[in-house]
Amino acid sequence: MIFQPAIIALLLAAALCMTMMLAATPFAVQLIRHWDLRSGSERQLRLERLTYLFSMLMMLVCVLQVLSTLLFVFNAERMSIMFVGAMCAVGTLNANVYGFPALYAQLLLFFAATSWLALNRVDNGARNYPLIRAKYAFMLALLPLAALVLYLQFNFFVRLEPDVITSCCGSMFSEDADTIASELSALPPRQAMLVFYLGLASAIALAAWQGWGKPARTRWRATAVGLSSGLAFAAALTGLLAFVALYIYEHPHHHCPFCILKAEYHYRGYLLYIPLFAAAAAGLGAALVAQFGRRQGLEQLAAQHSAALARIAALGFTLFVLIATAMIASSRLILLD
C-alpha cells in the first residue's frame, strides 16, 4: 500500500522537511541566543551569512508543506477506490485511526507554514533583520508539528489495509450521526446561508478596508481581519456542509465536503478550497505581520505587507463566494421554497 507514488512523495516531503528543520535547529538556537546586529564579531557575520541559506531552506519547507496539503487530500480521495466501503477521501481517512489526525495536523502545518512565509517576506523587506529572532523561534515551534505530521502520516500510510472495511462519508456527515460535522450538516439551510454569507461578507469587507483603505499603523484593524478570516473560514466550511454540497450533488442529504473533489463532480471542490484556504491563510498572515508594526524598520513595511495580504484575503474570499454561488445557481436542486 505504501508503494504508491503519491504516498512516497508525501512521506519523502515530510521526511525532507523534518531533516531540513533539524539541520536548521542548531543555527536557529545559536541565532536566538547570540544575534547582535551592533556587533561586528566573526560569529555575528557568520550568522548573517547563514541566515540566507536557512531562510531559503525554511521557505522550501513551507512551500513543500503547502503543496503536501493539496497532495494529501488529492491522494486520500484517489485511494478511496482501494477500500471496501469507501466512497471518497473520508473512507480512506477512516481506514485507520491515524487518517483524520494526519489531515488535521497537515492543515495546522499548512497555516503555520503560510504564517512563517508571511513573516519571512516582511523580514526580508527590511534592512535590519527586525523579525529574525521571531522567525527562527517560530521555526523551532514548527518543529514538533512537522514531526507530528511525519509520525501521523507514516503510521497512517503504513497501517493502511485494503481488506479493512471502512465507513463512507454518509455515516460521518449524515444529519443523524453524533459528530460536530453532522451537527453542522444538520443546520437548516436558511440559517446556514445566513452564517455563510454574513461571515464571508464581513471578512471581505474588513479585508478590503485593510487592503485598499487608508493605510493605518494601528493593529486592531489587521487583528480584526485575522479574526474575521478565521470565522469566515469556519462559516465557509459550515456552509459547504450544510447547503453548498447539497446543491453541487443535487441531493438533499449528501453533505460530504470531500466527494466534491471527485472527477464525477468535475473536481469542483478544488475550485472552492484553493481560494478559501489561500484567503484564510492570507487573512491570518495580514493580522500576524501587523503585530510587528512598531519594530524599528517595519514602521511602513508591516502596514504595506499587511495590506497586500488583506487584499489577497479579500479577493480569495470573494472568489470563493462567487464560485459557490455560481454552483448553487446552476444546480437543479430546490432547497429553499
Binding site: 546586529l37 561586528g40 564579531s41 566573526e42 557575520l45 548573517e48 551569512r49 540566507y52 526580508n124 534592512r127 535590519n128 533583520y129
Partner: protein, 235 residues
C-alpha cells in the same frame, strides 16, 4: 565617509589552506578625496578594496558608509548600494568585446530598466567630458589602452556614483596615459567624488593629487600618510 572597523578577512576558513588576507584594519576614507592603498603583492590591497566596494563581506568587522552599517545589509540592499553609490574601474578594464564603446558604457544602467535614450544621452555626455566622443561607435577591442580605460571610467560613472574604486588602474598604461588618467581623477575628485585606488605604481603613489596613502603589509595597516588635510572641495 567610509569607515572600516576591525576588518578581518579569511579565505578557506577552517581548512588546511586557511589564509587571513586582512588582520584587523581600521581606517576612515573622507569624501571628495583621492585615497591610495599601497603595498606589495599579497598585502591585502585588492581584498580591502573589494570590501570597501561591497563586492565582498568581511569575516569580522564592520563597514559604514555615511554612518550606515552596510556590511550587515542583506544582499538585495547591498546590490542597490553597489549600483548607486559605487563605480568600479578594473585593472583589465573588463569591457565586453564585440560591443561598441557606448554600448559598454550604458551596460550598468540596463538592469535598472532605465530608458535606453536616457542612458545613451548620459553615455554620450560622459564620452564628451572625457574627450572620447569621436570613438562612440568603435568596437572596444579596436581602442587603444588609454581609450579603453576612459571607456571604463565612463562606464563606472554612468550611475553617477559618489565613490569611484579602481584596482591598479595604471598597471596597463604607459607614463603618459597614466598621467592623463590622474588628471581625470583630479577632476572627478574636484567634482566631489571619493576616489579609492590600489596601486604600487610610484607614479600614482607620489602624485600630487593624492590626498591620503594607506600602506598595507601582510594584511595589516602599517602607515597612513595624509598629504592634504583640508577638504578638496574647499582647497
Amino acid at each position: 565617509m567610509l569607515e572600516l572597523n576591525n576588518i578581518r578577512k579569511a579565505f578557506n576558513q577552517g581548512r588546511h589552506n586557511e589564509h587571513w588576507a586582512l588582520r584587523g584594519i581600521d581606517l576612515e576614507i573622507p569624501p571628495a578625496r583621492i585615497s591610495v592603498l599601497k603595498g606589495p603583492s599579497g598585502s591585502g590591497k585588492s581584498t580591502l578594496l573589494s570590501i570597501l566596494g561591497c563586492l565582498a563581506r568581511p569575516t569580522e568587522g564592520r563597514v559604514r558608509l555615511d554612518g550606515e552599517d552596510i556590511s550587515a545589509l542583506p544582499e538585495r540592499f547591498l546590490t542597490e548600494i553597489r549600483r548607486r553609490r559605487f563605480g568600479f574601474i578594473f585593472q583589465q578594464f573588463n569591457l565586453v568585446r564585440g560591443l561598441s564603446a557606448i554600448d559598454n558604457i550604458i551596460l550598468p544602467g540596463i538592469p535598472d530598466g532605465q530608458p535606453r535614450a536616457k542612458l545613451l544621452a548620459r553615455g554620450e555626455q560622459l564620452l564628451t567630458e572625457l574627450q572620447l566622443d569621436h570613438r562612440r561607435d568603435a568596437a572596444v577591442e579596436w581602442l587603444s589602452g588609454g581609450e579603453q580605460q576612459r571607456v571604463a571610467i565612463c562606464r563606472a560613472l554612468l550611475n553617477d556614483p559618489t565613490v569611484l574604486i579602481a584596482d591598479e588602474p595604471t598597471a596597463n598604461l604607459d607614463s603618459k596615459l597614466a598621467g592623463e588618467f590622474l588628471l581625470i581623477l583630479e577632476r572627478l575628485a574636484q567634482a566631489g567624488r571619493t576616489i579609492i585606488l590600489t596601486s604600487h605604481d610610484p607614479l600614482v603613489i607620489e602624485a600630487d593629487i593624492v590626498d591620503q596613502v594607506f600602506s598595507l603589509r601582510d594584511g595589516r595597516l602599517t602607515g597612513v600618510e595624509i598629504r592634504h588635510p583640508a577638504f578638496r572641495l574647499t582647497r
